[in-house]
């Protein structure tokens, strides 16, 4: 067993990732600590923790961003290390520094690396200066006065992003340059609200690109390895919906090239811990998009094909241990697919949903993993991100992985709150998706998948019968019809 200089790890997160991190923390013999917000009620993570403190804030999200309150909770529980999960404070260099200043171990890259990669403008400059591939762009920092003009010069379509942003928040595509000024104003306002920084960044929007990212891992002794790529091209409004590994688009030569570039970028910034280098790819090649200095939501697909536990690797690196394997030791086996279960209603333009989790029955079967953030009997609220759970499957090849994913999605029972489960299945059964012909605009180009299939008459009859006989008030009304009247004809109106 590995020695750790810390005996306990506080997870500063919630939902499925809090439970997922705690599972590994405990498996390694460490104490698992947690902060939680009362709005979440009982959660899978709570059942896996040795101690917990409730955090409060003006909004539930604000509670998870309140550094002084979180550090006070950490001290109270005797936390010796902090794992930030993803989102919230995971890419906040100030928090990473505060954790280290408080004498605790920060499970993540150096604060300077978070700062460098968190500033999209600096990150691009850093990557570009070292000869790695970049898409044409304009940044507001260079000369704010001429920014709109330089953005216009890139030509339509254009993608506007907050310089301080990430995760797709506040991004806008401009197709009609006549609307550029309006779009700039709106993007600035959103950037200011989400990130407290209204500066923008514009780049040429590549139509129908693929999103391919590479998982990397670095230790404190200078070693960096890549753990192959993931393709995350199935996105809706820049939010990933389905991810897979390996990418069906890459030849072995292209795979080796993109993975080597990612590892090169990680090496250049002396990366420590788990990180992801994201690229966009079109028929002309691939370009650096950004580097995420945290564990990604979709890390399980990499775990499935490599057999590694990325959280365990993060903990070992944070403990100062050298990586226990070299690049040559990293093997790739089969194909993995992750589908994100969101509380949203595809039939209502994916509007967020909320409600009680009346029933939750995870799928079972070979190669199936289900990481859930909610429990049956609790409620889904709209205070946080809409992701409820992740379904991850592994198969010998892509065809088997697709089959296992659709079977598992049909076995997954979630009642009480509308979700995208049926939509995910329709997506995985789509002929272009099955053939691997995917790009980041595919979901937007196929709105019919969200409408769902019309009900077969027999299915409808079964539903009506089951609903009517299950509702006491309806069954009572049916029972009240005199049998003689019933004999004369069915009750209709």
């Amino acid at each position: 067993m590995t020695d750790f200089p810390f005996a306990s790890v506080l997870v500063v997160n919630r939902g499925e990732i809090a439970a997922r991190v705690l599972r590994t923390v405990r498996a390694l013999g460490l104490r698992g600590l947690l902060i939680a917000h009362e709005i979440d009620g009982r959660t899978p993570a709570l059942d896996l923790t040795d101690d917990v403190r409730l955090v409060r804030g003006e909004t539930p999200v604000a509670a998870f961003l309140d550094i002084p309150q979180i550090l006070a909770a950490a001290r109270e529980m005797g936390a010796e290390a902090i794992h930030p999960g993803y989102g919230f404070l995971s890419e906040n260099a100030g928090f990473a520094r505060a954790v280290e200043d408080a004498g605790m171990t920060w499970i993540g890259p150096a604060p300077e690396t978070i700062e460098l990669m968190g500033d999209k403008v600096r990150a691009r400059a850093f990557v570009g200066e070292r000869g790695f591939p970049l898409a044409p762009s304009a940044t507001e920092d260079d000369a704010p006065v001429t920014f709109a003009e330089r953005a216009r010069a890139l030509g339509a379509p254009l993608l506007l992003k907050p310089s301080a942003g990430g995760g797709g928040k506040g991004m806008r595509i401009v197709r009609d340059m006549a609307l550029l000024d309006d779009e700039l104003a709106r993007a600035r306002s959103e950037a200011q609200r989400y990130f407290g920084d209204g500066r923008l960044f514009a780049e040429r929007y590549i139509e129908r690109p693929r999103h391919i990212e590479v998982q990397i891992l670095g230790d404190t002794h200078g070693a960096v390895v890549h753990l192959f790529e993931r393709e995350c091209s199935l996105q809706r409004r820049f939010q990933k919906v389905i991810e897979e590994a390996p990418s069906p688009a890459l030849t072995e030569t292209e795979r080796a090239e993109i993975c080597a570039v990612a590892a090169g970028i990680a090496r250049a910034c002396r990366y420590r811990g788990a990180g992801t280098v994201e690229f966009i790819r079109d028929e002309n090649g691939f370009y650096f998009l950004e580097m995420n200095t945290r564990l990604q939501v979709e890390h399980p697909v990499t775990e499935m094909i490599t057999g590694l536990d990325l959280v365990a690797e993060q903990l070992r690196v944070a403990a100062g241990h050298p990586l226990s394997f070299t690049q040559q030791d990293v093997r790739r086996d089969g194909h993995a697919i992750e589908a994100r279960i969101y509380a949203e209603d595809p039939a209502r333009d994916f509007a967020p949903t909320a409600g009680p989790v009346l029933r939750l029955r995870p799928p079972t079967g070979e190669g199936v993993r289900f990481d859930a953030g909610v429990l049956e009997g609790e409620s889904v609220n709209t205070a946080f991100d809409p992701m409820l759970a992740k379904l991850v499957v592994h198969g010998a090849d892509r065809t088997q992985a697709l089959e296992r994913a659709t079977t598992a999605l049909s076995e997954l029972v979630l009642l009480g709150v509308a979700s995208n489960i049926t939509y995910l299945r329709a997506l995985l059964e789509d002929e272009d998706v099955c053939a691997g012909r995917i790009h980041t605009g595919l979901i937007a180009e196929k709105p019919e998948l969200a409408a769902g299939k019309p009900l077969e008459p027999e299915t409808l009859a079964s539903l009506i019968a089951a609903a009517a006989l299950s509702l006491p008030q309806v069954r009572g009304a049916v029972d009240a019809i005199p049998a003689l009247h019933a004999a004369m004809g069915a009750w209709r109106n």
Partner: protein
């Protein structure tokens, strides 16, 4: 008491009655049964038998049937009529999704035209602008910036006049 079962956007008139000699049948005479078997429900309509998971919550039944979850709501005929009449007369701005108020652009007493932006809301990561559904005078606001609401909640009343 007559009524409808609402599935998605569609209302289906109830067409079930007791069968002679016990049990139930559909309008076309097909016999129906619903019974529990090992934690799951067996639905039989005529010759067809299907297995489902069913949970009842108030006037709503959730059914997981052949890999798909359905939300089915019971609405009596009277109630359905009342709701549709209410919907037509009601000029208010309703929440298209659950979320929180980002900005209120009108004050009580303001005169608005149909299509004027009256409020900006946020749900998850998206901002949405809400517009007045008809011309009129803005009534009393119910929510302040930062407050959250459920889908369908009345956000701003728009009265006659102006």
């Amino acid at each position: 008491m007559q009524g409808y079962l609402i599935i998605g956007e569609e209302a289906h008139a109830l067409a079930i009655c007791p069968a002679m000699g016990g049990g139930y049948r559909l309008a076309d005479g097909a016999p129906l049964t619903l019974r529990e078997s090992g934690g799951r429900m067996r639905i039989q309509v005529g010759e067809t038998v299907r297995e489902a998971e069913i949970v009842v919550a108030g006037e709503t039944v959730w059914i997981h049937l052949e890999g798909v979850a359905y939300e089915i709501t019971w609405r009596s005929a009277v109630e359905r009529l009342a709701r549709s009449a209410d919907g037509e007369a009601d000029g208010a701005v309703h929440a298209p999704m659950p979320g929180a108020v980002v900005k209120v652009l009108v004050q009580p007493g303001d005169v608005v035209r149909a299509g004027d932006v009256v409020m900006v809301i946020e749900s998850m990561k998206l901002e949405t602008t809400l517009r007045a559904p008809r011309p009129g005078v803005v009534g009393h606001g119910r929510l302040a910036v930062g407050e959250s609401f459920e889908r369908g909640a009345m956000l701003i009343e728009i009265g006659e006049g102006g």
